[in-house]
Symmetry: C2
Subunit: 223 residues, 2 copies
Amino acid sequence: MDAYKFIKDAIILGKYEPGMRLGEETLAKELNLSRTPIREAIKQLEAEGLVIPLKRGVGVRHFTKEDIREIYDLRSLLESYAASQAAVNRTEEDLIELKTANELYEQAIHDHLQSDMTSIRKIVKVNQRFHEAIVSAAKNKHLHFHISKVVVIPIVFRSFYWYTDFHLQQSLEVHKIIFNAIENKEPERARIAMHEHIFQGRDNVLKHLDDIKISHLFKEEIK
Amino acid sequence: MDAYKFIKDAIILGKYEPGMRLGEETLAKELNLSRTPIREAIKQLEAEGLVIPLKRGVGVRHFTKEDIREIYDLRSLLESYAASQAAVNRTEEDLIELKTANELYEQAIHDHLQSDMTSIRKIVKVNQRFHEAIVSAAKNKHLHFHISKVVVIPIVFRSFYWYTDFHLQQSLEVHKIIFNAIENKEPERARIAMHEHIFQGRDNVLKHLDDIKISHLFKEEIK
DNA sequence: TATTGACTTATTGTATACAAACCAATAAAT
DNA sequence: ATTTATTGGTTTGTATACAATAAGTCAATA
């Protein structure tokens, strides 16, 4: 298996504690590979900022509350812009994908049962699909590239864990507004709605993050 | 010497043609290193998008006119935001650095002689210092991280080559406006000025880029 | 008891050898 | 003549060995 993907997934799933020292040898054994491909994977992950060099070896990067604030600011800036550009550049195909993603999202929320992890994961997935569709519709590959790097981080600290039914309902409404604005080619309305949407998410996360360390509440869901 | 730095500098200086196939062995020989550290460097550069995997080996990424448009859009978005945030978060120290950078910029432009490469490079350098100071003053490490990746690319295709005296004079004026806005804590004015500034740069580059390939007009300046 | 220094061990950095994949060119067959 | 197969050389992918360096440990001394 590909070392880069494996380690990245492991980080996203929270398999490794932030700050925890990962030895090359250990990772190599775990993956039945030699150190060489492991090192390359790590270099890539370093360049993406998911992993940092430690005294000896590397560690999953530990994100502070300050980081979270900064990342959401940045993400909001980028995705709001993507939404506005989507409203300008979207094709009919984009619109179809957007519509599908949103219908699936509505469905997933409808089917959702409080604190059922399977249905939460489903929601996370279709939510990602909707956001991805918007970024695609914006037709800017470089924007896309950078957003994809920024978006990973909230996943690492389990932002979705704190979704409440109220928040989900609210999200659904905003998604609809965003879709509508993009459909009707109203960039400014799309931008504002997206901005609001992401800040709702941010506030929701920050509320639950008063100096608890964000680590790993989902150990059981890791194979 | 560090392989990552070496190769990156070589790309920025235009030592390698875009799309040109770079073999690991060749690079290794050039640097008196084995392939192992070279491969790591390449993986990092790939993650930054400066280099792409080719049929055989890697190549310096070739940026099209479309890329340039996208990159400047993105850069403008990010740096305008940085300017507005700088106007909010700047400290007194930031202000001093900003002032210094701007005075050096004025000096450099004043000393500038048409098409003298040494003085052009001087201008480029202090210009970078000014922009860097703004991003620092914005106090958002993640924003900083992504801007630094975006900013490299215009350097790769020698945007400064086409600076005219008129453009330089214009730049100086805008720099002053930006500084002023940040000093007086006027985020919106800073944002707009920065946006305008970067778009002037963009238009200037695009004007000169009608499907010539941007490659490497400065071979002689490379050791 | 704390601190320094030497020694031991663990971990990364680099080189190199070999395996696998790939491209190209040439030869054979239709 | 055109297409397909085969083979040779080049280039990357992976493993492994060894060198360099940093960390940890324990004892000796202040």
